[in-house]
Amino acid sequence: MRTKRFLWIVARRVIRKIADGICLCGFAVPVFLPVVMVLCSSVKSEYELSELLSPILSSGTGEINWQFLSLYPTAGHFFQLLFGTPDFFTVFWNSLKIVSLILLGQLVIAVPSAWAFAAFRFRGRGILFLLYIMLMLLPFQVTMLPSYLVLNRLHMLDTHGAVILPAIFSTFPVFLIYRSFAGIPGELLEAARIDGAGEWSIFTRIGVPLGSGGILSALVLGFLDYWNMMEQPLAFLQDKTLWPLSLYLPEIDIRQAGRALAASVITLIPAAFIFAMGQEYLEEGIAASGIKA
C-alpha cells in the first residue's frame, strides 16, 4: 500500500516535469520561429525567393508555401550587400556611431549622478530622485515635443546630435546604476573618508569597482534598446543618409527580399553578440529595475 502510494507520487512528479518541458518547448517555438525564418531564407537564391514570395509580390491567389530548407543555399546576398551596396555601410556606421556615443555619454553622465544619489545625503535628494524616476517613466511620445523645441533652438535637428544628446541624459541608467551603488555599505565609505581619501578617489576606487555589475547592466540594456531605436531618429532626422539601420532596413522593397534578409541578419549579429556576452548582466539589470525605489 505504502509503496504504491510512493510510486504514485513519483509518477506524478515525473509526469509534471515532462508536461512542464513540453509546455516550455511549445512556447519557445513562436519565440524563435521569426528569427529562424530570417536565417533560413537569407541563404535562399534570388530565384527561390521570388518563387516563395510570389503570392505576396503579385498579390495573386494562393498562400506562401513556406520552405525552411533551401535547395541551393547561397551567400550571394551577403556578398552583394557587403561589397555592392555602399549606402548600407553608411547606415551601419550611423547605427554604430549613435549607439556608442550614447553609451559613452551615459557612462560619463549617469555613473557620477548615480553615485551622488547613492553616496551623499543632501537637501532635496528625495524630491530630485523622485523626479528622475518620473522622467524615466515618461514615454518618448510625451517628451518628443519638448525635445524638439530644444533641439530646434540649438539648431541640432537633422544631425546625429539630435538623437544622441537627449539620450545621454536619460535618467533610466542613473536609476539602474544607483541600485548597485546603494548596495555598498556606508561604513566602507566612511572608513575611506576617515583614512583621508578624497571623494573622487572613493568614487573611482570603491564605487566603480563595486558597482560595475550595475554599470554593465545599464550598458547591455542600453545597447539593446538603442540598437533598436526608432522613434527618435524618425522624428528628428529627415536626411535619410543619417538614418540608423532600424529605419533603413524596412525601407528596402520586398521585391529585393534577398538584400533585405541579408541586412536583417547583419543587423541581428551585434545585438545577438551583446546578448550572448551579457546575458547575466541583462537579467540583473531587469531584476534591478523591478525593485521598488
Binding site: 512542464d20 518541458g21 509546455c23 516550455l24 512556447f27 519557445a28 519565440v31 524563435f32 521569426p34 528569427v35 525564418m37 530570417v38 514570395l53 505576396i56 495573386g60 498562400e63 506562401i64 560619463v108 553622465i109 549617469a110 557620477p112 549622478s113 553615485w115 523626479l131 518620473m134 522622467l135 517613466l137 514615454p139 518618448f140 511620445q141 510625451v142 515635443l145 519638448p146 530644444v150 544628446l165 537627449p166 545621454i168 535618467t171 578624497g198 571623494e199 539593446l224 533598436n228 522613434e231 522624428a235 539601420l245 532600424s246 529605419l247 532596413l249 536583417s264 543587423t267 541581428l268 545585438a271 545577438a272 546578448f275 546575458q279 541583462l282 531587469i286 529595475s289 523591478g290 521598488k292
Partner: protein, 288 residues
Amino acid sequence: MRAWKKSCRKYRFNCRSRVLFLLPGLIGVSVFVLLPFLDVGKRSFQTAITGEFCGVDNYVTIFHNQAFLLALGNTARFVAVGLPLLLALSLFLACMIDRGIHARWWKAVYLFPMAVPTATVVLIWKLLFHQNGVLNGLINRFGGTAVDWLGSDASFWVLIFSYLWKNTGYTIVLWMAGLHSVPVERKEAARVDGASERQCFFYVVLPELKPMLYTITVLSFLNSFKVFREAYLVAGAYPQQKMYLLQHLFNNWFTNLEMDKMAAAGVCITVVFLVGVIVLQRLWDRKE
C-alpha cells in the same frame, strides 16, 4: 584655530566636489527634458501660431478630435487586453522555469526576442500576416477561413502578438526575481500542513508576489508604448483603424507640426500616467 580653518576648507571643498558629481547630469536633464517640458505645459494653454493665451481650448479641441478619441480607445483596449495576458503568461512560464531544471537556459530562450531588433523581423511579420501569408496558409490547411490580418480588425491581435513576443522574457525575469523573494520556509510550512501544490501557490506564493505586481505592471505598461515600433514598421503611419495608437497619432501630429494638440495631449497623458502610478502604489501599499 588654524586646524579648524583647514578642516573647514577641506569640508567645503568636499561639498563642492560632491556637487560636481550630480551637476552635469542635472544640467543636461534640465536643459533637455525638464525646462522644455514646463514650456510645453505653458504652450498647452496657448494657440499654436500666435502664442496667445486661449485657456483650455486646446484641451477641448483634442477631446472632440475623432483621431484622438480613436487612438485613445485603441490604446486603452490594447493595454486592457495585452497587459493581463502578458502578466498571466509570463507568470505561468516563470513558475515552470523556476521549479524546473536549466532555469538559466530557459530564461535566455525567452529573453532572446529582446535582442532581436524590430527591423530584423519586420519582413517576417509581413510574410506571416499578409493576406496570402504563411499564417493564412496554415489556417487554410487546417480548414479554417483566412483572415486579412493587417487589413481588418484582426490587426489588433497582431499588435498583441508582437507585444507578447517581445516582452514575455523581460516579465519572466521580473516574476522570477519576485518568486525568489518568497521565503522557502513559508512554502515548506504550508506543504507540511498538507496544502496541495495549487493551494500553496494561490495562498502562499501569490500574496507574496503582490508588491512585485506593482512594479511589473508599471514596467510592462511602459514597454507597451514600444509596440509602436512593430506597428509602424509593418503597417506605416496610417495603419488599419484598430491598430491606430496614440503613438501613431503623436507621430502624425508631429509631422504636421500641430504643436497645440501635442502639448495638450502630452500634458493629459502625463497627468494620467502620474496619477496611475501613484494610485497603483497606494493600492498595493495598503494591501501589504
